[in-house]
Symmetry: C2
Subunit: 412 residues, 2 copies
Amino acid sequence: MTSTQELLDSLLEHKASINVASSQVKNQALAAMADQLEAQADAILAGNALDIAAAQGKISPVMQDRLLLTRERIADMAAGIRALLDLPDPVGLVLEERVREDGLQIQKRSIPFGLIGMIYESRPNVTSDAAALAIKSGNAVILRGGKEAFNSAQAIVKALKTGLEQAGVHPGVLELVQDTSRASAQELMTAKGKIDLLVPRGGAGLIQAVVEQATVPVIETGTGLCHVYIDQQVDLEMAVALAVNAKTSRPSVCNAAEVLLVHQDIAADFLPAFEAALADKVELRADASAQPYLQAAIPAGSQDFDTEFLDYIMAVKVLPSLEAAISHINHHSSGHSEAIVTTDSQAADLFTLLVDSAAVYVNASTRFTDGGEFGLGCELGISTQKMHARGPMGLREMTTYKYVISGQGQTR
Amino acid sequence: MTSTQELLDSLLEHKASINVASSQVKNQALAAMADQLEAQADAILAGNALDIAAAQGKISPVMQDRLLLTRERIADMAAGIRALLDLPDPVGLVLEERVREDGLQIQKRSIPFGLIGMIYESRPNVTSDAAALAIKSGNAVILRGGKEAFNSAQAIVKALKTGLEQAGVHPGVLELVQDTSRASAQELMTAKGKIDLLVPRGGAGLIQAVVEQATVPVIETGTGLCHVYIDQQVDLEMAVALAVNAKTSRPSVCNAAEVLLVHQDIAADFLPAFEAALADKVELRADASAQPYLQAAIPAGSQDFDTEFLDYIMAVKVLPSLEAAISHINHHSSGHSEAIVTTDSQAADLFTLLVDSAAVYVNASTRFTDGGEFGLGCELGISTQKMHARGPMGLREMTTYKYVISGQGQTR
């Protein structure tokens, strides 16, 4: 077994092969990677069968389904890679340029980070997604997936490496960590001077562990404790439709709403209509302020306004003012996405100004926070931090920049 | 004494007063802060006298001079604040805008981080510089200066707060940590969810400690192990002038060169001319490859190619190729600034492509890496990391962004 340190050293040796690759070479690599996923489908399915067999009785049926690969799912992974072909290359752009009076030319140029690390859990498709995004943005990449999906990931990476090699990119720019113990995650988190950016993808526990323990630069992603606030003046029908959509259209994802806040002056009109529209699909956990307006709500517990349910559950609170709602959100939110429903443009402006989250909505569902929906074409994850990237991270957020200064002997 | 936690909580309570302040109010605050520094000069000098008295015999004369304030230096600090008045407000810009076919409008708007922390050492002027940059960029700020300068900083902050209040900004958006023990620095480093960005300014030891221990987002600044590489084809006169300038024009600053790399084919021409031009002002520490070409060099020790001398000392090495020089730089550099001197444009392109530092120079001195020289108008520090900001950090790098999405009831 190749150790994680050996993989890191090998990546450093080979990373220039992708860091300086042309747009054409990177696209050729992506096309070949997609083709090889399909060409090596039998080997990938065989690896996946090992993982599925080992998972019997150990993980839930839902998790087993996440882990399962089929020929169709492999085709979807290949299609996901091919979708990157048409996106613009984020590398090599002149972001700013300036020629000083003394003739010194200062260019700010976009460049890849260098080596990106990803720590994630058991979905096999993350392996191909993350590798393809890294390659398109000119980065070498080290992947550390969950041990439940190791054999699947191993076969996927083997296929992707074949594709890289066919396009003339050194296959050593993409590596899968072979050691699936906790120690290897620690090695990535502390690979200072080697890993330029580490992105955890997965549950809140994984992400918190990485953020707290990493000494390499990290982007915190994904935890979505999203709020919908119904202001005192609303189009009631729109308010109900938005709140229902934000909660129920896909409760398991990070941009689904978890908490409903309602202005007290609209509570008697809104909450019964909302409850009726839910048609018992959602368990409402109401604090004392909201209980009087709801038929079937259960009392909210102490953690219900701080929990990402990712399920058909919603915490509900009635508040005396817009300011109280903003304050509640800024104290409890994970900084992902929040929405106000209002016909009052001043209220909307105050909400968007003061709510400190990556995406702040007026009269639209929180469910739109997504790289595809925002027009980025793809998404590595959704940043809930403020440094470097906020909200959906596309290819551009996987680059940094350098200043290139050209002179004719200028001194200072 | 107000505890650091109490200060942090108070800042969170009051930060909106500056986060959402208009450009006009922020400029009024800066003008009043500058005026108050001069109006309260007596109190500031009295505070400084306490610090100077306490420093006798404890810190070097050079450090005492750094600590010393005079009426003229206070006027310089005020002038530094006033210089920010004409710079554009980095907050509230629409960085990108997009209207989808369904009518959803997506705006990416620049906003302040919220609360910025600064940990620095003993120069009193950093207190006013950092406070003014934070205010101009709409950020609340908590300052933790060195204990040697505490009384000076206290008096400066008092004056600045008066200025804030006069302009209608809550003075609680600017705080100086009262506890000068190591514990308070730790409290800032771990104030997760409170401090949005922490910037250490000072020596390499301070910066490394912060980078390693912080759980809040940090920007690594300042360490400059800068290289000048003399390629095989050069204008000899220019090469000598650039290398001399990069080393000697101000050796104590981070953009000064510490290491000279020379292509072996030019060494016999370049190194004697360089040594003659230095006129014994610089101690050259040469490895075995460079010794034959130098008269007065001493042998380089094992750490001399990894040391930021900040002094009239330079490590010298002769290398067989451009590629060897690039590899040496990428292994030893702090990622700050590097220069190539060459008349070969292909060599220049390869150097700028492959050298992985914030600023890469062709035929110009590394000494230009500076916010003012780059046209940013000011500088909080020079980032040597790749995430968020690289190279000189101006006002824009003290902001982040949020997405504001406005709809008419769109659901997904």
